[in-house]
Amino acid sequence: MEGDIVQMGAYIGAGLACMGMGGAAIGVGNVAGNFLAGALRNPSAAGGQTATLFIGIAFAEALGIFSFLVALLLMFAV
């Protein structure tokens, strides 16, 4: 019975941790959207900035991946 409650807590926690991915989604959308807005204003400068775009996306995404990792740890390691 006690084990069941611990298991339940782990599953609820894993589900809650996945909310962090929503934050990462907002972040990635922000980066990409602002890049597009800037690129449409000055298309000639856009090509040189794709590397910056991907670096920004990667940093924003990393934090979402951390929450996914927490969910995985709760599911399989705890």
Partner: protein, 260 residues
Amino acid sequence: MATEAHGAAEPGLVFHPMDQFMVKPLFGEGAVGIFTLTNVTLWMALTVAAIFALLVLGTAGRATIPSRTQSIAELAYDFVRKMVEDVAGKDGLVFFPYIMTLFLFILFANVLGLLPMAFTTTSHIAVTAVLAMMVFLTVTIVGFVRHGAGFLSLFWVSSAPLPLRPVLALIEVISYFVRPVSHSIRLAGNMMAGHAVVKVFAAFAPMIIISTGIGLLVTPLSILAIATIYALELLVAFIQAYVFTILTCVYLKDALHPHH
């Protein structure tokens, strides 16, 4: 990681989505030791063989008008070289062979992992952590060898107001040491998540066998979803290899030019 207890009792989900990431010995059923040949070993060897086939055998003709394989090899070479030059600067080109190796290994491991029944070596944190730690150590050692104690000015943001600098230094130190963690987990997490999603939809696909009513709706939808996510995964496989290498270049730039 996953146990067979998961989902085994339910009729729909006959396999667990994380089962594909289990490390198994190639021959026999024994425990996995350091020298055991496992599916990881096999797919890493296949990755290296594929890179060898592309770069060494593909360019063996050294044709002036390149064949298709040679064009791909040259394209990859130019792509990575330009990336290193743009991000890390001209003096970063010393590290071009290392970064090219990283890029091709990750790209091929990601793409080969997309084959059905394949094992994605880069979905394991053990693999990506080694890659990321090697980058971290290289960058740190290069920084100290090139600049000595001056490398520490990376943490001392001289453009910020003086009272803020100790706070910023603390943040910079923490973010410096989190680098290998985020570097490795980003790649492993992306690969693992994508493959797990494909497997989850694959579990719903045979629904039509169990019940024709709901299956008529669920099965075509999940097959469509598998195809779509598969295409997305192909893109992700490339982008993650690109992101891993470009971050390596960014870290390398910090080591070569630590002054803000």
